[in-house]
């Protein structure tokens, strides 16, 4: 395979598809850190030109991490839908981009070929797209899932209430949860990142949240985001658990760093299908984020966009209810500033939806990255306009335990009103019944923001 392109009579040559994929990426500090980024803007375009001419079949034949050394590569190869793959195998990445954009290609058509895509294909086409391309195609893709509520229907924008507390103080967690509900947030999940990673603590938090949701008849799901092995032990203690959580990486080595494998998640999923408390059928919740593989030296010289897509390839095995890219959490060494975080959020949402996942995004920044509050608010609107399934929500967007800035309880109703979006149908009925939102006048209801009206 000859990998070269000429720009103003300078020939740019590339050694491998992996190099072409890496150099096609929009600028990311993480690719610089890995030493694999394009050396100039011109070389980047040359790489994209080469990539645009590669067929999807060639991408399948050249996985970025070798089949022999990575169980995820083997998983993608063995689980690929051959029938769906045949329909698009002959397209070049450039032609695939156009196929996705053209009007005859609707969301259903995209879903029909989705299982025939390897993560590398989703990543490749993302690299040829502008931010608005990513939004236009992602907005066509609908991924509808159900646990207790139905997520991802057209015209809907859901949110996770994230009532974290630095010492897992149950009262503190519940007070924050009630406030979130009073702002119409929490229809995706009430999800707590615990400070203490033990089965007892996980069970205690879940039981407490379950009580509040039941007393107020709130139609949603709950989850405590401890390690999957801890949640499995908590389930065996006998607590309610609507969704089971785990962070994923895009390589076998990266997952080893997280203390997980395909076999372990298979076991966790089986246990959850048997013991989980939500109606289902979807019962898993995964988080990802560009740069996580490199942060544990498990990237095999592959760029962070392609590795992120491989997380989604892993996630779809478990038909999850939620997948969330925690886009700005990892820090400036992977995504340096506002433009890089914005780009990554839109890429991840696009790739996840293309691969058939219910994608949400934790649009966020840490206090050591160069992004400001106004840029973050813009990203939330862009994601929502692109059809993002859900965002996070916290008091003033401030996570007092993980120390970063995300979406706020006030942002969710603001965006919904701006873009004429609603929460899940089940939760929507609940906020109308509780007079949290008044759709007749399209404004907050009398109980809006009144957390005291939600029973403790």
């Amino acid at each position: 395979m000859r990998l070269a392109a000429t720009i103003r009579s300078v020939v740019h040559r590339f050694e491998s598809l992996r190099e072409v994929l890496a150099k096609s990426n929009a600028p990311k500090s993480g690719d610089n850190l890995a030493g694999i980024a394009a050396r100039s803007a011109v070389e980047r375009v040359a790489a994209r030109a080469v990539l645009s001419n590669v067929t999807l079949e060639t991408l399948r034949q050249n996985p970025v991490v070798p089949y022999e050394i990575d169980e995820l590569t083997r998983l993608f190869e063995h689980s690929l839908d051959e029938h769906a793959f045949k329909a698009i195998a002959h397209l070049t990445v450039g032609q695939f981009r156009e196929w996705l954009l053209e009007d005859q290609t609707d969301g259903l058509k995209i879903r029909s070929i989705s299982a025939g895509l390897t993560p590398e294909m989703a990543a490749a086409v993302a690299k040829l797209m502008s931010n608005m391309d990513l939004m236009v195609v992602a907005s066509k893709c609908q991924v509808v899932v159900r646990a207790n509520t139905t997520l991802g229907l057209p015209g809907r924008l859901s949110s996770r209430v994230q009532p974290n507390h630095p010492t897992d103080d149950i009262e503190g967690i519940l007070l924050s949860t009630r406030e979130g509900l009073a702002y119409g947030c929490g229809d995706a999940v009430i999800g707590v990142n615990p400070a203490t990673d033990t089965a007892e603590s996980t069970a205690e938090i879940l039981t407490a949240i379950d009580g509040v949701l039941k007393r107020n008849a709130v139609p949603t799901q709950h989850c405590v985001l401890s390690h999957v092995t801890v949640q499995m032990r908590a389930l065996q203690l006998g607590c309610p658990m609507d969704l089971m959580f785990q962070s994923l990486s895009g390589t076998e080595l990266g997952n080893k760093a997280f203390g997980i494998s395909v076999a372990l998640l298979d076991e966790a999923w089986a246990l959850m299908k048997e013991r989980g408390s939500a109606r289902g059928p979807n019962c898993m919740y995964f988080e990802t984020g560009q740069g996580s593989a490199l942060s544990s030296a498990a990237h095999h010289g592959v760029d962070q966009v392609t590795l992120e897509a491989r997380c989604y390839g892993f996630a779809r095995r478990y038909q999850p209810f939620l997948v969330n890219t925690v886009v700005g959490f990892i820090g400036p060494e992977y995504l340096e500033d506002g433009p890089q975080i914005t780009r990554a959020g839109l890429e991840d949402h696009f790739m996840g939806k293309l691969l058939g996942l219910p994608m949400g995004c934790d649009a966020c920044f840490t206090y050591h990255a160069r992004m400001d509050q106004d840029e973050l608010e813009s990203l939330k609107v862009l994601l929502s306009a692109a059809g993002c399934s859900y965002l996070m929500s916290l008091p003033v967007g401030d996570d007092i335990m993980l120390n970063y800035q995300s979406t706020s309880y006030h942002d969710i109703p603001s965006i919904r009103r701006l873009l004429a979006k609603r929460p899940t149908p089940e939760f929507d009925a609940w906020i109308v019944e509780r007079d949290i939102w008044d759709y007749e006048r399209d404004r907050p209801g009398r109980a809006f923001g009144n957390a005291a009206a939600i029973l403790p």
Binding site: S29, N32, L33, P163, H165, P166, T167, D168, D169, I170, E171, G172, I173, L175, S176, E179, Y183, A195, T196, T198, A199, E200, H227, T229, R233, K256, A257, F258, G259, S295, S296, A298, G331, P332, E333, E336, T366, Y367, H368, Q373, L394, P395, V396, D398, D399, I400, M401, N403, Y404, Q405, H410, P413, S414, R417, R443, P444, F448, G449, A451, A452
Partner: protein, 304 residues
Amino acid sequence: MSRTRQLIDRLRDELGASAPMPPAPPLPRVPEPPARVFPRRHEGSPYAREAARHTTALLGIGHVGTRYATDVVLQFQAELAVAHEAVATELPADWATQNGLIGLRSRVRDHREYLLRPDLGRRLEPESLARWTQAGQHGVDVQPILADGLSAVACMQSGLTLLDSFTQACRARGLTVGVPVAARYARVWLEDEIGAAVSAKVAAILLGERPGLGTGDGLSAYLVYDPRIGKTDGDRNMMSNIHPRGTRPEIAGVRLAVLARAMLDQQRSGVELDLSGLRTELGDVASRAHRAPQVRVRLVEVAG
């Protein structure tokens, strides 16, 4: 006028271009002063006062339409500015020696490089490594490492208290503790090389975590059994939010010693470490009975 021009004009007329614009709707009457006045300073609701007893999360703050009151916006912006300032602060080069610790440095040369190159922050620069291999006590059970991490402010404020309580709690459990060091421009994995250089059985790095809103004084601790280059996050056990409003350093030090003891007993760390037998001991240490009053300080007051 050309034929084409005539056709275009006729089409425009047909589409209503020549029709006058409909009159604009009349403006509503200007309200009599005063129009609705919002309190300049947000007064906490009963819910906010109840919440303040349990959490620093900003609850019960009300809303204007679906957005924040002006006072909330200003306090938030001030907190953001404080966090950004905490990130920009650096640990002085002579801080370690002034506090009786051995000063080591990673391969990072300046603050921006520290932010963008974690790989350099995970390795000791050669001079530090040589000096440490000479000066360190070899073969100890636990090698404690104090470090700046992402908040030198936290390291300087409660780092010494945490180091002290951890060291004492380790000794009380019969463990030998190495000569304490303070590392600059350090990432978590730097503990692997520092621990390995003196063949410590457990390495424990106590370092500033990334600042939160209005704060910058939180420490995290990461412990690893058999430290050596190549260990991953799954091999470590960690504890975060060590600061006066989270888990106090005095309490955290004891709990970390329990963790270290468990690692030595089981000869492993990370996800494979079984803590189920330590429920009572860890439970006491991590007791929720202790709930520090959580006060969020107002940062902005306007004169007049």
